[in-house]
Symmetry: D2
């Protein structure tokens, strides 16, 4: 897995007076190190609160781009709250805790590409700018929101243990308006990963055109390539999920028709890049 950079850190330009500014992303700079983003791979370790639910299968289908079909379980969906630590290959970001943590909320829809089960993420929100921008590099539609979820506690009385009867809540607000509320009361644990959290994500690489052009914008369907997937034990039980009236257009199309199990677990992965599925 390699990444294209105008010139690498290991090979500084011979003549700094004439070299071009460079970097994996904007901002470009003489050394390339001012880049807002580091190149993949990126490691992630997260604490997850997830609620499985069902949407109108027709509504779900309208969010699937050409190439993706509804798969074996049309209408299966999930709402996922996560708090992540992340770092680049060298782990450097872990030394600055103001940089290496963020929270995320996303919706997953069950789908399939050429018969292979996958998940489509029609909406996602994070609370830090680097993960937002990195989402767009992948084709993942991350916006900015306020994401909160309670976490299991080991001692004291301000929260639930990771044990039967424990209750965990999540909430998403966007532009000062509450959009999603969720809750899980765990009953038992298992080693079986929740279905929609255990399939590849299929994203659409598309970015607004800025210069006038006769060519239509290119959209590429890509699958995220991950390694090192690890799940903790999965605690599950009845879930609750509500979508509130809010300012996000089309979001209500994916409102829960039925809510089933919720899950609390830890999850780790390393994200390497994207594999082209289809170009249109």
């Amino acid at each position: 897995m390699t990444t294209t950079t105008a010139h690498s850190e290991g090979h500084p330009a011979a003549d700094p007076g004439t070299a071009s500014p460079c970097g994996y992303s904007l901002p470009l700079s003489p050394s390339g190190k001012a880049s807002m983003l580091t190149p993949p791979p990126w490691h992630f370790s997260g604490e997850i609160l997830m609620v499985d639910y069902r949407v109108d299968p027709d509504a779900a289908r309208r969010f699937l781009p050409p190439g993706l079909g509804p798969g074996a379980d049309p209408g299966a969906a999930a709402a996922v709250f996560a708090t992540w630590q992340w770092c680049s290959e060298d782990g450097g970001e872990l030394a600055d805790p103001a940089v290496c943590r963020f929270s995320e909320f996303l919706i997953l829809l069950s789908c399939a590409f050429e018969g292979r089960p996958m998940a489509r993420c029609p909406f996602a929100w994070v609370d830090e700018p680097v993960p937002m921008m990195r989402g767009w590099v992948q084709g993942m539609p991350k916006q900015f929101g306020a994401i909160h979820h309670t976490r299991p506690v080991a001692v004291g009385r301000a929260g639930s243990r990771l044990a039967p009867g424990g209750r965990f809540d999540g909430a998403l607000s966007v532009h000062g308006r509450r959009l999603v509320e969720a809750s899980v009361t765990i009953e038992h644990s298992t080693e079986r990963a929740p279905a929609l959290h255990d399939v590849p994500l299929a994203h659409s690489l598309v970015f607004p055109q800025w210069v006038q052009s006769d060519a239509p914008p290119r959209t590429r369907l890509v699958a995220s390539q991950v390694s090192g997937v690890e799940f903790s034990r999965i605690w599950s039980g009845p879930g609750q999920l509500s979508f509130l009236d809010g300012p996000v257009e089309d979001f209500g199309l994916l409102s829960p028709l039925e809510v089933s199990a919720g899950h609390v677990f830890a999850y780790g992965e390393t994200l390497h890049g994207g594999r082209l599925l289809r170009e249109s």
Copy 2:
């Protein structure tokens, strides 16, 4: 343990047309329920990163109010990063994860009251308004800051396990300026609680006077009354701690002269109110 409220929720005023607005704190309102703060007890469950260090004993003494002496170990101090869940007696806040979590940084100085070991908190910062205001109710000098610390991870590569070699970092910024950076590399675990986290806190109840008065402002030295103290296993190892130049007056007086062990652990307590130690 009872708390004084103008009228309790259980006893609504007989005549709403003439009753006074009430509440445990501002804002006062007809039902008393608009109060920003709920009355104690308050439960806390937290994840802690703590670094023991030494300050100039003379500087520490200058932060101790009348009644508190330097105790058996003058100059012993600690820097503490914490992320808390909290709730009131009925646990209601846990259902709104946007409300029941906050992060905190504080300094502790070793001291004694009438020979009993205690800790004095000369500086504290939190990132939510309710805990800030609740700090002042207790005499704890909480201000607003940006507090971040890395957390142990159970899976994945973006962080350390709670195991020998694991490294955890903390950072405090105030008004957009980095003030404190800390790090702990854990080596072993113990059941012995860090000394300064296992003694009562002695705060000064003092609040600015607003109405002109001949009487000097009253300062009361109080000890926080807690119950249900619980520690997880304590992971410890070499610590690092730096104070950076910043805008907080007198903070540099408490800079580290020597840094010893750091600790990572979970902690729970219930806070009930204050016990008067001395009035001046």
Copy 3:
């Protein structure tokens, strides 16, 4: 106008080894300069968006403490959005723009003390901690919120001029939930200050008790003492105001029954302290 401080900056303690930590407010420190708050007077210059409206007079009365009556116009109310610059007597804060600015939303109710027209502020929100804490010093029930309002523009097309037809909007969110939306379309200008912005504020000095005590908590009704009041020209026209369902108890009691004029203007004042009206 003087302010009580344990020892003033001009009179440092003779023996720093034995002096008590001091300050206008917490945190107390050797020099007294670590105090989160500076003593009054405080200067304020603000840009204001205000909507006059009417509440149920009975509901308004239930928010008035003993000593305040409904006055000549029971049910008159106002919703006020403001963005302030502030500084202490020496103006020092103006050199740090990260410190000297904040936004505020508040409700005003018409009332009277011994026949003199005054305003009561039952709810207020700000977006910075220093003004929040300073509110409580005055008896003003400031909490934390997200306050936004559009401002007149002098050039360009992204906003309205301060001229007939100009429209200005305000919004308040609390804990990620939209609570208030307001709008004013200005039609004409005047030199007559809006009634509720031109009378003294009557606050209740009350603070939660921390130490058990037989004595009931003391509540003092105080009037804010201001000087140097300045209004710009007042631009007025039809207003709109909506209260949305939100998490703030008793707030809905003050929902608009009728909305009249809105106003856009600049306002300055200096706040010196409080005058005792009544003790109970």
Copy 4:
């Protein structure tokens, strides 16, 4: 000026069951209205604090991509603080003040394209996600920061009038660390726009590649196309500018060697899209 969208709002897909999700940007959705960004034109009205300064001309040259030369005044630079209102063509965003305002800090370097004076923006920070993402659409390297600047006041004592002797300050913090501080004391006013604020911006359209490819990434040099440029009267006087040690790589290369005049003014423009200058 038109903008390419998969299907426009005015032409909904005939068969919603088979149409592709669409939008000007991610997120794609059935109606296309969930798009985080609206298509240009975008209107901007801003309040500006700007300081002209000089950098090492060699350092500046190292930030210029192929096609841009140092121009007639190598080493001329400016630091710009701005608070903007913005809206799309229909002005809809102005009705939500939580959406239509943001602050920005940016550096401008004097340069030239084929002999025409232009400005290059090597670094920029904003405090809202929509302007950040819109920056990348244009090739403008916007990151996230905390930007504050004092504003002229019309009444009251908490700030300066727009008049000789008035002082205005700006500050930028990134990841909790202060990076830039600036100040202007105005002495006189003029109608002559500051040179670096009155030339087109030349940006580099470049976005990280996600899918492995043999083709090198394409970089396009583009000029922003604006109309409706309006300046208020320009107030100018001696400026101050400091770069503090911070976490932004290569930023220090553009530290001030010499600081000249500062300016306070209002500015409006409409941004339509980009014109291709050169492809490499």
